[in-house]
């Protein structure tokens, strides 16, 4: 290997419910802080879909790699990337892992286990299979996860990748974050299969559909498939049915009616887990308040870190080409 691809390692408590809750809260607060800035440009947010990213990343280990679609802030933070560096990258500052050159939709920090986002729908699927092929050829025990939206499921890229990954038993977990909308087109009008995970069956690989608003369900399903892939049993397809709380992007108008939005917002994965933990007696309201304060401080620090970093010199438009 020309370059080590080690990751940060989630601490052993990372898969525990309070850590899952905390990570989801950081993502929600991070995106809110970003949305409030006039200089954020154009963003694709994950509000409502935090449980998919956090549940998946809780199942990954240090040396594994995650590739994502352009809706990548939640997966990047869920993978444990430093929020200050991520904020710097999104705001185009040189303290970003790509010196602000990738920005929204192209976050990447491979040495931290986040191989990166790619803002072409379905564009990262075969790339992820290629990373998995490299791992397999090198005899590594690491696994590659690729997160994509339901919008990618109608494209040939998914079907070509499923075929090759199944044929070669690649250490690959394909995770569809099915937020049920391609910009404004409902999934029912774009995709024929009733269950997207059924797409695994013709290729002879396991598939499952879970509630993407339930972080523990996502974590457990992902962990099962990651364990298979790690011992050489090949790829799997996991569908997580989620809800997008805002429009496709900050530049796209919302097309869903208000009463539908109210029902969707009532399914918040963060409120759901917090409520479960409170009912189980694991967290009290004072604990939740303390957690909220802690998260707000972490995000404020991230914003301050990014603000302190300069924009690149225009000469960097011509560096690292080729």
């Amino acid at each position: 290997m020309a370059r080590p691809l080690r990751g940060p390692g989630l601490d052993s408590a990372a898969g525990q419910p309070t850590q899952l809750l905390r990570r989801m809260m950081v993502i929600r607060a991070f995106e809110a802080a970003l949305a409030a800035r006039p200089d954020h440009g154009f963003q694709l947010f994950s509000a409502g879909q935090e449980a998919v990213a956090v549940g998946l990343c809780a199942a990954l280990e240090t040396g594994d790699q995650l590739l994502t679609s352009g809706r990548s802030i939640a997966p990047a933070l869920a993978r444990g990337l430093d929020p200050g560096r991520v904020m710097a990258e999104i705001l185009g500052r040189v303290a970003g892992p790509a010196r602000g050159k990738g920005g929204r939709g192209h976050l990447a920090w491979p040495s931290e286990g986040f191989f990166g986002a790619h803002a072409v729908v379905g564009g990262n699927l075969s790339i992820a299979a290629g990373v998995a092929l490299a791992f397999q050829i090198e005899g590594r025990r690491d696994v590659v996860a690729c997160l994509f939206g339901d919008g990618a499921c109608g494209a040939g890229a998914l079907h070509e990748t499923l075929n090759i990954a199944a044929l070669w038993k690649l250490p690959l977990l394909l995770v569809c974050d099915n937020n049920q909308l391609s910009v404004s087109t409902p999934r029912s009008q774009a995709l024929a299969p009733a269950r997207l995970s059924d797409l695994a069956a013709p290729f002879g690989i396991p598939g499952a559909t879970v509630d993407g608003m339930d972080v523990a369900a996502v974590r457990d399903a992902a962990a099962r498939f990651v364990a298979r892939a790690r011992v050489g049993d090949g790829p799997a397809l996991l569908e997580c049915v989620s809800e997008r709380f805002s429009s496709h992007s900050t530049a796209t108008r919302e097309t869903r009616p208000k009463d539908q939005m109210a029902a969707i917002l009532a399914r918040c994965p963060i409120a759901r887990l917090a409520g479960e933990l409170q009912r189980a007696g694991e967290l009290g309201s004072a604990d939740i308040a303390a957690l909220e304060g802690d998260v707000a401080r972490e995000v404020a620090l991230a914003v301050a870190f990014a603000n302190a970093s300069p924009l690149p010199d225009p000469a960097e438009a011509l560096t690292d080409v080729g």
Binding site: P97, K101, G102, S111, G123, S126, I127, F135, T161, V321
Partner: protein, 335 residues
Amino acid sequence: MSAEPVAGTMKLFFREAIARALREEMQADARVILLGQDVGAFGGSYKEFARLQAQFGPARVRDTPVAEAAMVGLGVGAAAAGLRPLVSITYMDFLMLGLDPLVNYAAKARFKTGGQITVPLVVKTTAGARGQGVAHSQCLEAWMMGVPGLAVVAPSTPADAYGLLKAALRHDGPVLYVDHKRLFPTAGEVPLAETVLPLGRAATRRQGRDVTVVSHSFMTRVALEAAERLATEAISCEVIDLRSLAPLDLDTVASSAARTGALLTLEEGQLTCGIGAEIAFQVREQAGPIRTARVGAAPAPVSSNPVLERAALPDAERVAAAVRRLLDAPPAERP
């Protein structure tokens, strides 16, 4: 071409030169792998991968399904993760199916990650017409020359095929390597010693005084044939083989054109937004006004019908006629 052996070289067909380059690079570097349709036991459509799977095994020399988009994507991902894959796309027409990972990801990965990820990938394909019809004949090199971050090479001799392929496999960014169907039946002298030919260097194939003819790949042979005919009319052609289209060796072309005072570009692809249009403009920018003309395919699909195929493509007679017209034209005026 001399029938006598040349000291320090051996005569190889294109397929042999390609296989030799791959064999040497795969022996030297375990990261080099080969992916493509029928590259394994079959040995490639032109036998250019013959016996590589037997030598290096099915893990490193892999037959793929007919799925160009995923094939290129696999190569791109494997390269980004540290391997050095060569992905074989049988014909250049089919490369269109794999352009997303090549153009949107591979060519931009180093830039968009601030240097964290590089994509040392070679996509090898075969262009050109040889009786196979409208979707198996195209020369699309010009499309790819304008992609920042992507190198494009197209050899016209077995020695260059060998040397350029080795350089491509050692390059740290993505390289599109383009063969030509009509070159596979040809042979040429290749150095016995291991040779790497750097990207971005044109070769002057014939020296001349009156006109510079610049071309690449199979059309270089057509240019040389035209130059032979014109020599009998006391017209002296300098023939430059670009070898590398990106990066482009503009200095070699521009200095020759400035010396001869006339530039004819020759390509098998389309003239509109073609290689000739680009070179003529760049030469003008560097060397000032020079009489220019361009020869390329007719603005029509290339049929498998031999009469229609010949009618659509440049040949030595058309090139010679274009040179005569160019030299009869008045000198270029300063703007």
